[in-house]
Symmetry: C2
Subunit: 164 residues, 2 copies
């Protein structure tokens, strides 16, 4: 299987979609959840949205990407998201990368890298491991500063609140 080496989107499109993922991250922030957001795009239409909801749901699997993928599958009435693009503000973990492989998401874009558990380039690159039956195009650094800042501000406030 050949690794996909080209994006189908322009820089403007990538930034526009990452802004939508950031909107989702802000919804998480408003609920005092770690602010991570994701969207799934197909043929220029946003078909899935999601944000991290671990604390409210008390469900370990309720990451932004999982909700966005589930919503996209529902919208398409298909577990196959071929030709779809996924945008997420933080580099995906193993669970979410695994879900993207299963759903056959074609292109994955993320903002900030995750030194603690990133599996799309940092620790490992599950999305481009040719031993799996699907390989995605992966691009990082889309609106990286904004995606990182929303997280840093969240954790800074958390530490301040703990101190006071």
């Amino acid at each position: 299987m050949l690794e996909k080496i080209k994006s189908t989107l322009s820089k403007e499109q990538k930034e526009l979609y990452m802004r939508e993922a950031l909107k989702e991250a802000k919804k998480a922030k408003d609920k005092a959840e770690i602010p991570i957001g994701a969207i799934v795009v197909l043929d220029g239409e946003i078909i899935g949205r999601g944000y991290n909801l671990r604390e409210e749901s008390q469900d370990a699997t309720s990451h932004a990407e999982m909700t966005a993928i589930k919503n996209a599958c529902k919208k398409k009435d298909s577990w196959r998201l071929e030709n779809a693009q996924l945008f997420v503000t933080l580099e995906p973990c193993a669970m979410c990368s695994g879900a993207m492989i299963l759903a056959r998401v074609d292109e994955v874009y993320y903002g900030a890298g995750d030194p603690k558990g990133g599996t799309a380039g940092t620790f490992m690159n599950l999305l481009q491991d040719e031993r799996f039956n699907h390989v995605a195009y992966v691009e990082n650094g889309i609106l990286e500063d904004e995606c990182r800042e929303i997280l840093q501000n969240f954790f800074r406030k958390l530490r301040m609140n703990k101190k006071s």
Copy 2:
């Protein structure tokens, strides 16, 4: 972080719980889904059950382990499944291994290995990668023949039906 090297269960307990996972796999088979089943055990009680439901749900993430983990989180009202054991008839994929890491499942037992996508020893071993913030005890080969046969019979019938 030290790798956990001991199981807390006896051979009889492991087989008893894998039979419960096999019961879940049979529920999938009865719905013409690929027969994979899983359960989550905590303090000797089964707190989550699940079976593969990809076709009926048309949701790429609806694997047996994910449903079992979600149900266990719901039952415990917590995303943390520390001290829990997970039994699954087939070696988990990257998504499901990732979910077990996130939920901090302590011990993972599976029946048959998955040469196509297994991430608990076959392709890689995500569950025992010390770069993640959680490492599980992993044991394979519990009721291996039964776990493999239910899958082999399913695919054999599928091929026969396609031919006829």
